[in-house]
Symmetry: C3
């Protein structure tokens, strides 16, 4: 059996995954909308086939050539969870988790079932107490979120979301306690081949306008409100005493996915946390696949050095897992 | 012909340029005020001649020895644009761009002519609408800027600038729409030798007091106002989907400089942007030479790995361009 | 004489110190509370003996085996300054400085005696003028601090600290001018073996809630107040023109410790500064040992490349100093 080719949807983390696959000697197919392919012609280090995405037939073609699809934020957002779920192409990652991730209540259920500390959430606006963040469904990158402690303001916002068609009904909206502290996005890699969980690194998001308004004095701010559209990421290093907590939280997440969504998570995932004043991370969301925050160690993460003796990107780590699984005849354990 | 020696003004990015030149086997002359030279005696890795700057005769001496001057923020600010423009020493970079950069209206004209998205700007205080940032001419590192939406406050500020002699007349002041979003400074390298534009990395500035007051609650803030004196820089990684936009903006800038200021930009430059909630970068300034923000990858930028297979600093990249141009007898294409 | 084994208290910077010692061929003993040891079993790169800390007898055992203790934030906070001061085990670092660091008035005296720029401090609440930060004694990681310009509020806070038993008397509290600017933590390594001071890097702390509230608009903030519990660190690069100032401040600190606490500081230390709008660093505290902020270059600091030709962690630098001192029969110069 030939070494598999890896199909990577454009954007998000495609550069690091493509580079990693090239370094590990795997074939690379970068696919997506025509205008998004151009970026991947610009760098001599990125070699591989570029393919315009023309709907499910493209995935069909990749599949028939023996390619595998890497689950990434771009794949889920632009192919849609439905297509990712139903496509015949083998997927590196836990495909079924995509469905849980897209639904606030399944998402919260998984975190609670894993025994992880989560913020309070409220079934309706009339239950809301204290400062709340109101969210839209799906990975919209924080667009349209509202932070407020006013029920009447939350109600006006909710009505606007239904009227504008952003949601079909008010039930799709999510009202979560706004936990104040420092956000920290913890990145992991669950390796079936090595039978272990690896901690790969941490980032903090750089969000418009939340990180823009913070630089203005209240006088200059006027009526500007915070919003949470991710524009980039910073690398952060948590206190060493937090690392064991982060690892144990990752293990509980792996265990819960194995129990509720067998065979459980494969490869990269992220727990999205706020660390409070008493140094307790609270998990407000998760991502069941590689996150864009791993781009902060495009040059290699020093945490991966602790396992592999040299800094690696998560893209490289994905490629290593695929190559090792292939060499050991265990591809079935990493593809779903 | 001997390989050229590279003259580097103290401060700003002198360390990375000197290191890069040493690694590429080029001679190094670090020059500047006597008290600023001491830093370069402290590191065993920095070898080269140190020379006190005694005015234009120093540049004359460097020139007569066959040295070339690297255009840097330090060179422009302390030698003054006039001296940089008129000195006989060959310059790595587009010397003539210095004149455009020092003048708000030429600066804005170049960006507009390149078809780049810029904030609104206002010819006079009576035209001002909304939140505005009022700026002084020249690279003062953000000192003395004012953010306000009040015409009377802007007028008082403007009068003060004239009275204090910071400007000769109110016409030298610049009133620009204050765009709210996340600032992102995109770094580029235009290579005549490789005939391509390379994206080298991104930074965010760390500014007093804008980044100090953000950590205080409104109660503690009192009447403190934001100011924008650069004290340092952070490395940031924009979302991958923004990279193609950044590259195309860089290309438009290169094209416009080639058209308006032949032969056009050579080597490093920076587009200084705000990324808004709808993920559109708006360019509020540019720097037509290496910026201090490139110090965030003093250990090498992973973006340069995409072109060269290994992380590089911009200082090293400058040295490589000079060495390659010299080896190929093409120094005339990189010196102006 | 055998090469010494290095005893490292769990947490803080234990990973980088352990890795550094392994790379330099030194033996490693990681010790601490049982539940904190688990982290160090998780990474294949971390090899060495793990030992539960059972009080002073553990230090006695390490000492009798010829081990040396590395002074770190974890060692001081959890072993307590008293135990660190009195234990028979040789210490890498200036053990006696621990006593000065734990006392606000000795701490301030050392900085003033070194001729370093410090904020104003106030002997009593009735002397307070302007914005003040009120601090508790010891390395509590910023917990319980108050920023205020109101004497009555400061008095209520002070009474609460006495009532709650956080301090025995109001005299143990410290009232320091709150300097507005950008915080910058400068890291150094004083090497007796090389007889020089090395600049190793810079970080900025990521604090709950100070860095959480900054992302909320005043409307959302309500009555939330800033607090300063360190949850992580970011890497920052100061402007190059500040480096010489930072080095000279480090030299003055080294000189003062040599004069007041002979033989003076050995190994890593940190000056904790605010850089103001006029680009002057003001030192509000110091740490006379490795700080957690050095974890931001877990992959190696480019500043250490300027001395050693390759990026190093401070943990590796400690191990190199110990190995070189041992090889040259000069262990007595680095142990206290």
């Amino acid at each position: 059996m030939r070494v598999p080719s890896v199909a990577i949807y454009t954007g998000h983390t495609a550069l690091q995954i493509a580079l990693g696959c090239i370094e590990e000697g795997l074939g690379v197919i970068i696919f997506g909308p025509k205008e998004r392919l151009r970026l991947y012609t610009r760098f001599p280090a990125i070699r591989g086939r570029l393919e315009e995405y023309r709907g499910e037939e493209t995935l069909e073609k990749i599949s028939s050539e023996g390619g595998v699809l890497v689950l990434s934020g771009g794949a889920i957002e632009y192919l849609t969870p439905r297509v990712v779920m139903s496509a015949r192409v083998p997927v590196f990652g836990l495909r079924e988790l995509t469905r849980w991730e897209a639904d606030w209540f399944l998402k919260t259920r998984l975190l609670q079932d894993a025994g992880l500390p989560v913020p309070r959430y409220f079934r309706g606006i009339d239950e809301v107490e204290g400062l709340v963040i109101a969210k839209l469904p799906g990975a919209k990158g924080g667009r349209g979120y509202l932070v407020s402690s006013s029920r009447s303001e939350l109600e006006r916002w909710a009505e606007k979301q239904v009227e504008s068609g952003a949601v079909e009904s008010i039930d799709q909206l999510f009202f979560q306690e706004y936990v104040v502290g420092t956000t920290m996005y913890a990145h992991y890699f669950q390796s079936p081949v090595m039978d272990r969980l690896e901690l790969t690194g941490f980032d903090v998001r750089y969000e418009a306008n939340a990180d823009g308004i913070r630089r203005l004095s209240p006088r200059s701010l006027g009526n500007l409100r915070e919003s949470f559209v991710v524009t980039g990421n910073f690398q952060v290093y948590p206190r060493e005493r937090l690392l064991e907590d982060f690892i144990e939280m990752g293990e509980r997440f792996v265990e819960a996915t194995g129990r509720l969504i067998p065979p459980g998570i494969v490869g990269p995932f992220c727990l999205e946390t706020v660390v409070t004043e008493d140094l307790k991370p609270v998990i407000f969301e998760f991502s069941g696949r590689i996150v864009a925050g791993t781009n902060v160690y495009l040059g290699g993460s020093p945490y991966l050095s602790l396992y592999w003796g040299r800094p690696l990107t998560v893209g490289r780590r994905i490629a290593m897992e695929l190559r090792m699984a292939w060499e050991q005849g265990r591809l079935g354990e990493v593809l779903t």
